[in-house]
């Protein structure tokens, strides 16, 4: 298929996935903010959310002080913020429109309808009326988009590039989420001192789990109280947890194999190595050497994979 077409498909899915993950994080923060908590703790939450996407400086330049209402505005509606939900949905739709002929009618219509609807909803104040419902809607549009794609598209390159985009983006987003949320806990998270802190921790960790739809999964897998190292294990290493780094990398490796060409061997090798590193890692080892360092390195490697995929398939040098 045309490189340009593959590029648009890849980015269409990346932006769709990014919109979903942004909605997930905002939703969790919003729900947590409804619990009784100190202003300082709430502040940490909203600030963390901005640093996840490396947006704190550009936010501060525009809005100054971090307040919940302004952060929501910035992350949902601000079209000058390339990571806002609006910007992501617009970019997804623009990419889809550029290659609408390569999508099934259903797949295109979902993208187009999402864009038309989100404009209508924001115009009518639906977001302000019920932020929780709005975030839920964004998530479900993403589910719908993915489902329609898998359910209607021919299983050829077009689909593989879309899947590559989805899972590369998901690996990136989950890693950022884990990094920031673990950072947010100032105290040593292997055992909180006071009872009050313990209670806070429960809400903190369960919120993270909920943000990746993993609360029930955690209970089912561990049948235990919520412990930080297990949360980390679930989100990083479990191959059967659909939003974990390991599961995402499995998909990246598989789809990369399906589209491989003459120049993509090295990219495949690196993707395979990154996957193997997750497959054979233990959470205690990762925590011993430092979670933040591990995740930072992981993000660099995912980023590099994205650049290599671009070079190998999407924007090949002029022949």
């Amino acid at each position: 298929m045309l490189s340009r077409t593959a590029d648009h498909l890849f980015w269409m899915s990346r932006y769709t996935e990014r919109a979903e993950n942004t909605a997930r994080m905002l939703d969790v923060n919003y729900q947590t903010s409804l619990l009784p908590q100190s202003a300082a703790v709430a502040q940490v939450g909203w600030q963390g959310l901005l640093s996840i996407s490396e947006l704190l400086p550009s936010y501060q330049a525009l809005y100054g002080e971090v307040t919940p209402a302004r952060v929501l505005e910035f992350m949902v509606k601000d079209e000058d913020n390339p990571s806002s939900i609006m910007s992501c949905l617009r970019a997804a739709r623009e990419n889809a429109r550029a290659v609408r002929g390569s999508l099934t009618t259903e797949a295109w219509e979902i993208q187009n309808q999402t864009w038309l609807e989100v404009n209508r909803m924001l115009r009518q104040g639906d977001f302000e009326r019920d932020p929780g419902q709005f975030f839920e809607w964004v998530k479900f549009r993403s589910h719908l988009s993915r489902g329609v794609t898998v359910g209607t598209m021919l299983m050829d390159e077009a689909l593989h590039f879309m899947r590559l985009g989805t899972f590369l983006e998901r690996a990136d987003n989950t890693a950022r989420l884990v990094d920031v949320k673990f950072h947010a806990v100032q105290s040593d998270f292997f055992g909180a001192a006071s009872e009050k802190d313990q209670e806070y921790d429960f809400y903190h960790w369960s919120a993270i789990l909920r943000s990746v739809s993993a609360f029930e999964i955690y209970r089912k897998v561990y049948r235990d109280v919520i412990k930080p190292e297990r949360v980390a294990e679930l989100l990083i290493l479990r191959a059967d947890m659909p939003r974990s780094l390991h599961a995402s990398l499995n998909e990246v490796v598989q789809n990369l194999e399906m589209v491989s060409n003459d120049q993509s061997d090295e990219t495949r090798r690196r993707a395979g190595k990154l996957r193997a590193d997750l497959q054979y890692a233990r959470i205690d080892e990762i925590l011993a050497t430092g979670l933040h360092a591990f995740l930072t390195q992981f993000l660099d490697r995912v980023n590099e994979l994205g650049a290599r995929i671009s070079r190998d398939f999407l924007i090949p040098a002029a022949a």
């Binding site: 340009r4 623009e94 429109r97 290659v99 002929g101 390569s102 295109w108 115009r123 002029a318 022949a319």
Partner: protein
Amino acid sequence: MLKFDEMYTRLPIAGSPVRTHYEAYERWLARQPAEMMKARREEAEMIFRRVGITFAVYGAKDEDGAGTERLIPFDLIPRIIPAHEWQSMEKGLVQRVTALNRFIHDVYHDQDIIRAGVIPADQILNNAQFRSVMMGVDVPNNIYSQISGIDIVRAPNANGDGEYYVLEDNLRVPSGVSYMLEDRKMMMRLFPDLFSQHRVAPVAHYPDLLLETLRASAPPATAEPTVVVLTPGMYNSAYFEHAFLAQQMGVELVEGQDLLVKDDFVWMRTTRGLKRVDVIYRRVDDDFLDPQVFRPTSTLGCAGLMNAYRAGNVAICNAVGTGVADDKSIYPYVPKMIEFYLGEKPILNNVPTYMCRNKDELQYTLDNLKDLVVKEVHGAGGYGMLVGPASTKAEIEEFRAAVLANPSGYIAQPTLSLSSCPTFVESGIAPRHIDLRPFVLSGKTVQMVPGGLTRVALKEGSLVVNSSQGGGTKDTWILEV
């Protein structure tokens, strides 16, 4: 002005006798409550938006300042043509397009028609659309215009009977066929019962015929030709149609940046390296095709394309230089072309045309400006024209000065009382003027799907049907017997 309707035999008002082929539809329409029609229209609009059947307006903004995508208004009431009228129109179209293709071949080869004195040499050789780069270039099947859009109107002749007239030939990159297909789909979705009561000739196989035509136009040596559609990109006003046709034919939709020329062959950049391209259905104007030959700043085309084309290694559809045959200054000669090349009498009428380049015809035009339609020879899209009876004194005088300053840049035609068709507008059902654009495909044979795109001037009394000026579309039914 409203003297001649498609549905009614006399005045276009309810109560006057209905033409035979409209009878069943008229009975059906009379039974439909106005609210139902209104609801259907809203439904249609919603579906068109969701499906994204829109056209882009350069530089325009929506109310909220966001998008530049507009819907082309779709009218619920079909334009119906009886089978016998279509059959003779179809014969006329085949004849006309065959002659036009012979003419273009002649212009770029022996120029017999000039030597025979049928058309003055300077009108061809000095025409802005004449492409000297095409001289002596052979194209597959000697076909230049694979896709021709012929604009036809119906109007009363001297006896007051309805007759079809060709208003204009479009042989460069005629557009609108996607609306023909989508309008039909929409009608079948909104009013399935109508289709069980009428035998409407289907049009949905157009993309198949188009692909067949394009494949038949491939360079002779290619066994399994790779066909692509070349679009200027998603901000072009007809982008929806480009994407639609590529998808329906199952071929790649490419932009100039996806192509490159190597060793006089054309290649596209794919995820698995370069792939050869044999046929380009281009929706980009001549001027932008190859920066080495035409406009040097164009990024919409591909450098070296003309070399590959002249070497016979790629087919470009429509060919470069077809504009020399659809220019308004050449139009008056088409009936003579048909006689010259085919030895036949033209089946379809031309509208009588005065060429202001000729002294007597200029004088006649200037004496009768208030009754005539005057058109710029190179104008398009309904711009650069004067509709005498609908213009103010000042507008007429302004045009008089323009015509005097450059007589050969203008032609004039009598104001036809174009037929109208009942149309569902804000105030209810009212007559509006229409035209028809059938799409004629020329490959190994000349063929077309029955019907075409009916455009309707939604403004009361207006004769301008172009979408850029408030025109809409209607489904077109050729009734089988």
